[in-house]
Symmetry: C2
Subunit: 479 residues, 2 copies
């Protein structure tokens, strides 16, 4: 890497959240002069605000990005491994479905702690600075000119060589790109909202199996629970907004939980459930797609700013972290040449981020509807079996997404191909079973399922078929 | 209509373009106090600016809206009727395909004159005022609070009961709605750009058939020409941006026209073609969809602000005008109750505006690719024939869209149903022709196409089939 051509060049990273802070580390490591502008106060000193999801699932892609800036071990040590989905049926029965093989797991990570660690990592670079309480008020992305409002509310103009928009699903940088010609954009809210609830520790220990992501699939509704380091679980209830609106009173909520999640009530505690349920209204979930991710050689979007996705594949943070890693790899490839690297980032990365967006939306239906069905369990077993006998040819979708860096869009293509092959295989298998079953029926019970194919009597009595029943049964499939 | 409950209520219409001005007439007629804020100067006094398309196709929906405010006759008298598409083939051959029956036509209308007439119509209401040179700088749509910048650049706050966003494809009002929770939005640029060119009058007369919309379909490219009242034609060339970029010099342009539109060069004049071609760069085309169109009882979007569509069905203005008419009909139905009327407008109108958006995108491909094919001509003839024999059952799509007020989304449903019926009919017809043809072959040429079905010789010679060729041909289809 030629670092000389980055030294002295200024990069403004908008947003000091997870992706912004990680990106600042990557860029600082590359010797850019990095300024991070974060609208909120420093979360390491300020009182924590409720609202955003509390914990996140870190998987391979995110870990690889953290590894590249030397933070993997530190972050992983503060996560709780989750080796399986634990499905809670309505009757209270629990069944575990492993995510992968015995050594594969995802990690439940505290968003707040991760963000704090990343901010501290940014500040460990002498050439990086985080400006808290600085809000982007205006931006001329094609010229690298920003206007930021600091705590003194005085607008200050900043000029830089590169603006990196990591300012989340409601990105201000993206709003400025949207006004440029030929910028495609979609935002879509799903009918579901989410609400966070808590399962506290029980006698100082986890109240449920700790190394699992717990799922209560109920078709229209779904609840999940992720373990925290303090031995509590954070539950997230997903439900259509109109259903939330049908639960205005405490007794409505209790009835609803008794009907749908009876085993969760004693775990949460009735009082605490009521307190959490009415603390905040249900939050919306947005899916955002755009194209391109860049403007000339001056501005690029990453993370939720480029592709906010619904949370049903647990890949939001991982996709955002992989954005940073992919950009870093392209900067290596193009020797820090921004005018080549930015268009290539759009060209290369958009199909992948759109693919994980589509997969997450697909799982939005899949996870609620099928996780409790026998068919789903059968498919997972079949996936596992096929992967075991053909480890490099057949890789389950979840494994490709969570435990490899196979490009998301390639994972989708392989998945479609695998589904086709499986369906054909099942068809052949089903046919063979039918044939075999029929044979057995015929052989053991002396039935004649193909009687109707025999030559009609009026054709004469000299034919082969009418000679003897015994002979016809000896060669029943030879025609 | 109870006008008393609108009197004194204030409506701010943002945008004094076609839809904004028409809407202001509707609302003023309903006794609201109407203020129109238009960012540009008064086009009736200012020098006209080039850029937006010069002429538009007015059809039934737009005319019905104009009729409701008493302007239909005035506007129609300033339009040039177009009764048919005139297809220009590469060889210079021209073929006319009528739009409907002999009394049906669309009108080529000057955007500028129409806008001027509508603004004058607004000002004829004592309770309506147009504020030119007033730009919307901020808006709190849920409270009906606006900040406008007048020519003095001093921000002025305005409070009103209803904000109507008619500020076009790049709507500022919509940008504010987008920040509200659960507002779905899509903007998509198509790969084509457009450029306007001119065919001047020839010896004081139209240089081509005046009562046609001329089309030069060339697959990847397309040119159209609409007649003006001054006996000129305005041509619009549609072409991918990358193709425009391949024509940097005058000789490139001339070569391109000689290759693709040879008959247009003498009509335009080589000098004028060059002047027009290099006057302005090609302009982008955007398709915008959003949902909902309203916010509570305080804000509603209409026209391009709600649904910018690509121009390939000639329905942009008509759909926008019908928005105003539909809203007016709902205001009648709900007795001017905005809190009922606005949600109902979203519920009722969005499927229709999304349908015409999809149809226009469909025509983007259809018009370029198929207008010159025999199959397209055959389909149009078939449509005409079926419509003639079953006028109320079978209505061609174009007729439903351009010459009726059948809801756009219902037109699409009917069209799909009709296509299915036609395809089945064609299949049956094709089968009958094949059968009849075979019969004739057999009967007149003594061929035996069904020879292979005859009883094989080894089955014996006593069968019916081998008795005599003559008899078998007498009852060839009886089995």
């Amino acid at each position: 890497m030629a670092s000389s051509d980055t030294q002295g060049k200024r990069v403004a990273v908008i947003g000091g959240g997870l992706v912004g802070a990680l990106n600042a580390c990557f860029l600082a490591k590359r010797n850019f002069q990095v300024d991070v502008y974060e609208a909120r106060e420093d979360i390491r000193v300020a009182k924590s605000a409720r609202g955003r999801s509390i914990n996140l699932a870190l998987s391979y892609r995110g870990r690889q990005a953290l590894k590249a800036i030397g933070l993997e071990d530190q972050i992983v040590s503060k996560g709780v491994p989750m080796k399986a989905r634990m499905i809670h049926s309505l009757s209270g029965k629990k069944s575990a479905i492993p995510y992968g093989n015995k050594s594969q797991y995802i990690l439940s990570i505290s968003r707040e702690n991760l963000n704090k660690d990343l901010l501290t990592a940014v500040e460990s670079y002498a050439n990086a600075k985080v400006h808290f309480g600085h809000k982007l008020s205006k931006c001329i992305p094609e010229e690298g000119v920003l206007t930021v409002l600091g705590p003194d509310k005085v607008p200050r103009d900043v000029t830089c060589d590169l603006v990196v928009g990591c300012d989340g699903a409601y990105s201000t940088v993206r709003a400025h790109l949207m006004k440029k010609p030929r910028f495609d954009y979609t935002q879509q809210y799903i009918p579901h909202g989410y609400m966070e609830l808590t399962i506290p520790p029980k006698n100082g220990e986890y109240a449920m199996e700790p190394n699992c992501l717990h799922i209560w699939p109920r078709n229209a509704y779904m609840m999940i629970a992720l373990p925290n380091m303090d031995k509590s679980f954070t539950c997230t209830l997903f439900m259509p907004f109109e259903e939330f609106e049908r639960l205005p009173t405490r007794s409505d909520v209790l009835d609803f939980f008794q009907k749908n999640f009876p085993d969760a009530i004693p775990l949460m505690g009735e009082q605490a459930l009521m307190r959490d349920f009415f603390l905040l209204p249900a939050q919306p979930m947005i899916s955002v797609k755009c194209s391109p991710f860049h403007l000339k050689s001056h501005c690029v979007l990453m993370g939720d700013a480029a592709h906010a996705i619904v949370p049903f594949f647990g890949q939001g943070m991982n996709a955002g972290f992989e954005d940073c890693l992919v950009f870093d790899e392209l900067m290596d490839k193009f020797n820090n040449n921004l005018s080549m690297c930015l268009p290539e980032f759009s060209r290369f990365r958009i199909p992948d981020d759109h693919a994980i967006s589509d997969l997450s939306m697909y799982n939005y239906i899949e996870m609620r509807a099928h996780v409790n069905s026998r068919w789903f369990l059968f498919q997972k077993l079949l996936d596992k079996f096929l992967h075991a006998i053909m480890p490099s040819t057949f890789i389950p979708l979840y494994t490709m997404v969570a435990f490899t860096r196979i490009r998301y869009h390639e994972a989708v293509l392989r998945w479609h191909w695998q589904k086709k092959v499986i369906n054909r295989g099942l068809f052949v298998l089903g046919s063979l079973i039918a044939i075999g079953g029929t044979y057995l029926l015929v052989h053991h019970l002396s039935l004649r399922p193909l009687e109707f194919l025999r030559r009609p009597a009026w054709m004469g009595t000299t034919g082969y078929w009418t000679r003897s029943t015994d002979i016809s049964l000896q060669v029943p499939w030879s025609y």
